[in-house]
Subunit: 363 residues, 2 copies
Amino acid sequence: MNHALQVVILAGGSGTRFWPAGRRRRPKQLLPLAQGRSLLRATADRALPLCGAGALWVATSEDLATAIRAELPELPSERLIVEPEPRDTAPCAALAAAVVDAAVPGAPIAMLPSDHLIEPQDRFRAVLARGAELAAGGRTLVTFGIKPTFAATGYGWIDPGAAVDAGEPRAFRVQRFREKPDRVTAEAFLPTGRMLWNSGMFVWTAAALRAAMARTAPALAAAAEAMARASSRGDRHGLLAAFRTTAPGSIDKAVMEGAPDVAVVEADLAWSDIGSFAALDAAFPPDAAGVVKSLHAGARVVTLDARDCVVHGEGPGLVALLGVEGLIVVRTKDAILVCRKDRAEDIRKLHALLGEHGCEDLL
Amino acid sequence: MNHALQVVILAGGSGTRFWPAGRRRRPKQLLPLAQGRSLLRATADRALPLCGAGALWVATSEDLATAIRAELPELPSERLIVEPEPRDTAPCAALAAAVVDAAVPGAPIAMLPSDHLIEPQDRFRAVLARGAELAAGGRTLVTFGIKPTFAATGYGWIDPGAAVDAGEPRAFRVQRFREKPDRVTAEAFLPTGRMLWNSGMFVWTAAALRAAMARTAPALAAAAEAMARASSRGDRHGLLAAFRTTAPGSIDKAVMEGAPDVAVVEADLAWSDIGSFAALDAAFPPDAAGVVKSLHAGARVVTLDARDCVVHGEGPGLVALLGVEGLIVVRTKDAILVCRKDRAEDIRKLHALLGEHGCEDLL
């Protein structure tokens, strides 16, 4: 058994909600939304003081491998786990567990999304270390629950039960995962002071993950076992062949919601998954007029009587706003987007339209 | 006496209301708003079949001389009248009259703004020819009154009196010039069926213009006489020195409103001075959602649930609109503007702000 925490950053997301800043080969995690750094770079920098450079892994898609290498040049290629096809987080977790466990048998493995903003950094590491300690026993799947600050309908929630032990930060048995609630339900969750947001961060050992899968997703468990065997004998072809037998699915649905032994570490962190441009205020605090300015590479903005807007500009060049309110305005070299703030979710739909309008070059 | 109509296009305007498409060295008259041609080019093309290439003149500022030459390469430099300083239309009219009359003594001289859209072309020429005929007598100042289509508060109006003669298109003695009216007054003007919009187009002989100036603006008349004398002896230095003695002022205020013998030719034309981006629907008819698309050099636009917007795009590159209404959106290579449609007039104010914000390079 090896108790040295391994950290796998999940950097395969292709998100379309950040178009036109986000593109097929430069999705959200590669955008410079973390005070000049990319979210991916910031995620790595956040974990490195805890796990060390030798224990950092990244899982991503073939499309993004080149860009990821450029963003994390210190990452050796054997620690870049490339999914041959996108299958969502459950197959990805099995693949990553197989690869990492073959290299560092028995180690607790953290899976961290690459596109979240988290502060403060040291408290994050204390929380993660606590999770690693709980997972290192080899039985428990550990998740992290953010202390909520509003009645979010855009996140899943976790209902914590009894305390795992008396340690700090506090950890609980998970009583129940709750999917993204409606407004009324979310407003009932918040004042309990107990319910937590599901952060999408996890720690487990490969053995614990496969054991849980055996109960909740037998087909996936079989594929995970095949991946583990192939990986342990260095059979890359067999590893990817086994991965390809999996059905797409999220780790929450496929495993966590049905797993018998799940703990949640309470994470008292400022956290945002920056789900859309409308959430950029988590990264760039609004000015007095409520205008959020995400400016990069010499971009400039001048406003006159503009209120409650989000501007993302990539320079050189200027964004000028006059008399407008409640807008998202994005300027990149080759495209601009002007979107009502409350329609940010529909950027996906707009994105889907672009292909039909002969704009494949801008996807 | 020479009755060959000379046409002087006034192309000195520096307008800031079309920023960021319009710039210091590329103001509105040089923008491609006339079905792919610049408004200046379209103005020249509209007049040329009537006056011929040898009778076309352009008055402009030093700043714009190079761009004008590029836009009208057929114009010989002796027919480009460069104002040493901007002084508005009254001094410009005196300067142009002095220069043209020295070359073609006694000819009727038309002064045409360079930044209007006018259709149909042949009817315009019939109207202009009629004005030239009236002016050729050497006494009458001739203006052109557009048949109004709405109760415009943004234009001056003309109150026509008795018919000049029985000729067609109809011409009247001007009874009174009316400044830009308020809403109530404009709504009273419209149903008279008689009141006309002041188009800012004129025809006169140099002698008639100076005679009128002698009555309405003696100082300007003296300068005009000095310009005429200098020009007739080829004294460019004296010409510009006399121009520099003039006070800035508009030809309407300085001359037309007080002149004793002014005729107006009724112009039944589709006419727009495209005063702002909000008026671009005169050049680019709206689509079913009320979106006006002014797209140039490969610019593209994709909209989803956008209504009542004006898009001006200069390519290559894309403008995407999602869920927005009542906006002006302009994309150029180095700047974008997002402006509430009813604030189009305030683009001037925004323009003034740019210098203060270190954006002199974008003016």
